[in-house]
Point group: C2
Chain length 307, copies 2
């Protein structure tokens, strides 16, 4: 059904996203070979053991040699140094892409290192779980999820090829400019994560007071927050440091709204609360209709994983 | 395997919780008959159609007649008026319980109406989904979830019998005092819900700016929030109005913590962010170990529903 899109793909960073790409490329025969590099030997070994890489290298420079596609799948702040390391080892005509959660900062850090004759097509798959590392990936992670590409000055032929790769892994590919991407993601992902981390932090202080009951009796609301807040600390630190302006803007708006609801509770203004909650309910319906979720309580995740 | 624990159970309110109880009592043969009342004829009809009630009544007073157990399963602020309506129709020796998400306010509103010779055993199953109404329930909703009872002055024999009912429906029953319950729930459920509602409200304002992209591209963090924020507006209005003090206290602490993280982003203090995120990750592990969740991305919900 599918055909190989790249002869040789090099994954730099072998965590959740890279391992999922590796599994997907193998499952749907999208690449001739998949090679990789990660910082630690432990991760490199795990990648071979799990089997989503055919070969691993001790350095990124060695890994990218002869690769038609190089995927930067490390935390956002690690991308610049890696780009500097690989720049002289890239194959002419190759494409470099990344999967970072922030786009402006990655482009600023990576683009200056891309040599003439190599295309840089930044990307961001809107898919993830709270697990990380080389054993966390699975082939269907990207199925029915969006992958946003920010083509910039890349040649259309390179963008088109990368688009086919992502489509082959099940993603719906769309293009967006970098500033807009960072703003949309600040609302839909970055600020919600910060808030979840904060709420879990509050509970942590109180947990000492109430002898772990807070953990024991955690119900739906909080449980979902802890899942979000279990994501990789380095990845998220980098996201907030590199998408600072947009996150701070959305956070400011969030606090304003929260003050309104806080005041409504204090004043026992039931109408304001009811109206607010009714409005947010409608947004949920919009998301289900947009096909980003299902009405079922599992929101479609398990299905994706089991397919 | 199981034996009937009550001859006749009356469900007042026929939404998510009541319908789940009805399904569970039927599935595991825990009650001789299940009757019910809801405000609207539509809901009463649906209850019969779905089949978790054997009989429905136009008034709560009629429904509780001859019932050995009366379950108040309406929004918290509706409980007092219903208690006043049924007080003279309760069977001597009967038990009244409720499933409200707040306990002090329910006790204040309901206890004065409980006649001599009837036991009042307030309760709260820590289980739910974002769906509501008579078609939302399923028998395994309470499986492996806690149900907190606040026995107060009820006779031990009545408490013990209600405990067996909840255990029969799969719940782990524990006792707690009302003030403590309200505080624990403010942290684990009420404040997280308010925050989710707020974040979704922020996105709603911005959605007009970015032409629905925020909905279209909503990724994990925000999607979970919208699910939480899709819960019934009346139920949650009542929760915040009746658990006001504890919610405002936790909300105050939340804002303090959020200011710390906001400042860390503004000052580009990566160490504070990384340390914070590392700490919250550990809490997640605690929850998984406490058995309130699984490590799988579906957090065990679907499994419960499919069993
Ligand atoms: N997780 C998500 O939900 C998600 C979703 C979309 C996009 N993203 C983006 O995808 C990228 C990777 O995320 P992930 O979730 O796959 O992360 P992950 O599971 O934590 O894996 C990160 C990988 O990067 C390697 N690495 C870290 N620092 C490095 C460095 N300085 N030099 C070389 N390798 C380094 C790690 O190697 P070691 O194991 O040896 O340390 C590991 O293999 C990030 O930019 C993130 O923003 C993540
Ligand atoms: N949902 C959760 O996650 C959850 C979890 C634990 C505890 N609880 C608690 O359980 C209780 C019920 O919640 P739920 O989720 O089952 O709600 P729900 O699905 O929205 O159903 C509420 C039911 O109460 C009826 N009702 C509302 N106001 C009434 C009134 N004034 N008089 C008579 N009946 C009235 C409704 O009848 P109509 O349909 O005719 O309007 C409906 O049958 C609440 O106290 C809530 O705090 C909820």
């Amino acid at each position: 059904m599918s055909q190989q899109i790249y002869d040789r793909v090099a994954l730099i960073g072998l965590g959740l996203i890279a391992s999922s790409m590796g599994h997907a490329m193998k499952k749907w025969n999208l690449a001739g070979s998949v090679v990789g590099h990660a910082r630690s030997e432990e991760t490199r070994k795990a990648a071979l053991e799990v089997g989503f890489c055919d070969e691993v290298f001790d350095t990124a420079a060695e890994a990218v040699k002869d690769a038609d596609l190089v995927v930067l799948a490390v935390p956002v702040l690690a991308m610049g140094p890696i780009a500097a390391e690989i720049r002289d080892h890239l194959k002419p005509g190759a494409t470099v892409t990344d999967v970072g959660s922030v786009k402006q900062a990655v482009i600023e850090a990576v683009a200056p290192h891309i040599p003439e004759g190599v295309d840089f097509v930044p990307g961001h798959p809107l898919a993830g779980t709270e697990h990380s590392g080389p054993r966390a990936g699975f082939a269907t992670l990207f199925r029915n999820r969006f992958c946003l590409l920010v083509p910039g000055h890349a040649r259309p032929v390179a963008v088109e090829r990368l688009t086919r790769l992502w489509q082959g892994m099940g993603a719906n590919v769309e293009q967006m400019d970098a500033a807009h991407h960072d703003r949309v993601l600040a609302v839909t992902s970055h600020t919600p994560h910060l808030i979840a981390y904060t709420m879990v932090g509050v509970a942590d202080h109180l947990a000492q007071v109430t002898e772990s009951e807070i953990i024991k009796y955690s119900a739906a609301g909080f449980r979902d927050f802890t899942r979000i807040a279990a994501s990789d600390p380095t990845m998220w630190r980098d996201v907030f440091l590199t998408n600072k302006e947009a996150t701070l803007d959305i956070l400011g708006r969030f606090m304003e709204e929260l003050f309104v609801l806080q005041r409504a509770i204090r004043m026992e203004d039931g109408k304001t609360l009811h109206d607010y909650f009714t409005r947010t309910r409608a947004i949920r319906r919009g998301i289900i209709e947009a096909g980003q979720d299902t009405a079922a309580p599992d929101f479609g995740r398990v299905k994706a994983q089991e397919e």
